[in-house]
């Protein structure tokens, strides 16, 4: 609606409104232009993202990465890959359930695209500022689960089916801590609108107010987008490629596209909800040190341009961390994955929501924004360090228990107990999590 509204003061949209008048059809045409701009941006940025990911992963693994196509840095590598995908045969396996098989790639891209409608790029530069923004994002993003199940079930392939069931168990499970951790910023901002949440962070980004909520959100967003260490849905070494084993050509490309789009979206959402989006509190702090009154980026000329740059820097910084994690961590097992979620993250998030809700009511109204932020930060750190301490205690108990068992057991029946011992070694964090939640 207000898309691209003034990168400087008078925008293309204002100009078009002036030229065309205020008829109802003008708004519709402007909306259509907005949709096309948002979607085109999403589709085109993926070309860059894939190149970036390959390049960064290569550097982490001490390789060079793409370096032939398109000059020195292999910038056109992804373009070449897209052209290659376009020229491949696109067929449907004879045994597949054709409607489900063919609908899945469309549905997953649609759900990944629709999320972008409420993501604010800069002051006023947002598809539409819904008053239930975050709720809308969560509801649209859960459509992707349906499409993964359609793809896996429709392929009539055992690996695809395994991938689909894993994806349902994983995505559905990790949606719970994600939803619950998002309750915290909504509670602090008193609004579900993405713009209002940024507005509530003009003094202190929520990352420094409720870091625990931010960390939980980040972990569950890794799982929601199916990225390492939670990439069980398409674990190449176990189930070929999971739910998209049977796909070829551009239909396969659509799954790839949706994955990258939703990953970038999640980093954008993380930047908006926990890092203040286009706002730049540090700028205000520096200015107030010199006695200048704090400025709001949304009111100054060129503020939109600054905001756009600030938001993109934040978004890609978060995205870089995603890639970094992919280059660093190995994949977890499915039981570890689910236990970590249900026996650690969910109880912890429930406690966090409860504590933040109660503490927020207990803080006297005259405390001011910074005072509130400081108290929330203190309680968050308390919960965080308390959790770590409990984890450490229980891990130590487990370790002692294992050592006792190992010294008591002689070598000849090593095999029977060896399994047990190994399990405990591998699962310290998981068992620790059990104990925390049991408390």
């Amino acid at each position: 609606m207000e898309f691209l509204k003034s990168l400087v003061e008078l925008t293309l949209f204002d100009y078009l409104r002036q030229v065309w008048g205020n008829a109802a059809w003008v708004e519709v045409v402007l909306d259509i232009i907005g949709v096309v701009v948002v979607s085109t941006f999403c589709l085109l940025v993926v070309v860059f993202l894939i190149w970036l990911e390959r390049k960064v992963i290569a550097r982490i693994q001490d390789r060079i990465g793409p370096n032939r196509v398109g000059g020195k840095y292999g910038l056109l590598q992804t373009v070449a890959d897209v052209l290659k995908l376009l020229s491949k045969e696109s067929f449907t396996p004879a045994d597949a359930d054709k409607p489900a098989y063919n609908a899945a790639p469309f549905l997953i891209v649609i759900s990944a695209l629709l999320m972008w409608a409420v993501l604010p790029f800069a002051p006023g530069v947002v598809g539409v500022d819904l008053n239930i923004g975050l709720f809308y994002i969560l509801s649209v993003s859960s459509i992707s689960v349906v499409s993964l199940l359609l793809a896996g079930w429709g392929s009539n392939n055992k690996y695809a089916l395994l991938g689909a069931f894993r994806s349902v168990a994983q995505l559905v499970s990790y949606e719970v801590p994600m939803i619950l951790s998002l309750v915290v910023p909504i509670l602090l901002a008193r609004s579900m609108s993405t713009q209002d949440i940024i507005g509530a962070q003009l003094v202190a980004p929520f990352m420094f107010v409720v870091p625990l909520s931010a960390i939980i959100f980040f972990i569950s967003s890794l799982a929601e987008t199916g990225r390492t260490p939670f990439d069980l849905l398409e674990a190449e070494s176990e189930i070929v490629a999971g739910f998209h084993t049977e796909y070829s050509g551009m239909k396969f490309g659509m799954f790839f596209l949706a994955e990258f789009m939703s990953t970038l979206f999640m980093s954008g959402l993380f930047a908006v909800v926990y890092w203040g989006g286009w706002s730049l509190p540090i700028l205000n702090m520096i200015l107030s040190l010199f006695g200048v009154t704090p400025i709001d980026l949304s009111v100054i000329a060129f503020g939109r341009l600054i905001g756009l740059v600030v938001f993109f820097v934040k978004m890609f910084a978060v995205y870089f961390v995603y890639i970094w994690i992919r280059g660093t961590l190995p994949r977890v097992r499915v039981d570890q994955l689910l236990n970590f979620n249900w026996k650690f993250l969910v109880p912890l998030t429930l406690v966090l929501v409860l504590v933040v809700a109660v503490v927020d009511k207990l803080i006297p109204a005259e405390m001011g924004v910074l005072g509130r932020a400081a108290i929330h930060l203190m309680t968050n750190l308390l919960i965080g360090f308390g959790t770590i301490e409990v984890l450490r205690q229980s891990a130590r108990r487990k370790r002692l228990l294992v050592e006792e068992v190992e010294t008591a057991v002689s070598h000849h029946d090593d095999h029977g107990h060896g399994d047990h011992g190994h399990d405990d070694h591998g699962d310290h964090a998981m068992h620790g999590a059990d104990v925390v939640a049991a408390h």
Binding site: D31, P93, F106, S155, V168, T245, G249, P347, L350, K361
Partner: protein, 118 residues
């Protein structure tokens, strides 16, 4: 209010075009030489035995069931959080009780061994 949703409605209508364009382009540009062996189900070179559409491990569905409980919780918690500034003490206690009940539900499922991966 309603005009906000006009954008979403237009987005929903136009969104299928963006995945459809490359797929159709691929269909036009790509070769079309189907043969029975190519269209077999791909399971690492071994011939497929039986259908994949079978009864499957119940564990996955149980997680989905537990999820439904928490998803409904979100429907209630989000508006509560958004309107938290206007809530009185009674409403806050209600919220605490609500979260507490859910926690008990989770503990119940846990105690019944629903969350064990077997």
């Amino acid at each position: 209010m309603l005009s906000d949703w006009q954008f979403i409605a237009i987005f929903v209508v136009l969104a299928p075009i963006f995945p459809a364009a490359p797929v159709i382009l691929n269909y036009v540009l790509g070769p079309k030489k189907p043969n029975p062996i190519k269209q077999e189900t791909y399971e690492c070179g071994i011939e497929t035995i039986g259908s994949s559409w079978i009864q499957f491990k119940v564990q996955y569905y149980i997680y989905a069931l537990v999820f439904v409980v928490f998803d409904i919780e979100a429907v209630f918690l989000f508006p509560i959080a958004a309107a938290y500034g206007q809530l009185g003490l009674f409403a806050v206690m209600e919220t605490v009780l609500f979260i507490f009940l859910l926690a008990v539900g989770l503990l119940y499922a846990w105690g019944r061994g629903v969350l064990e991966w077997v």
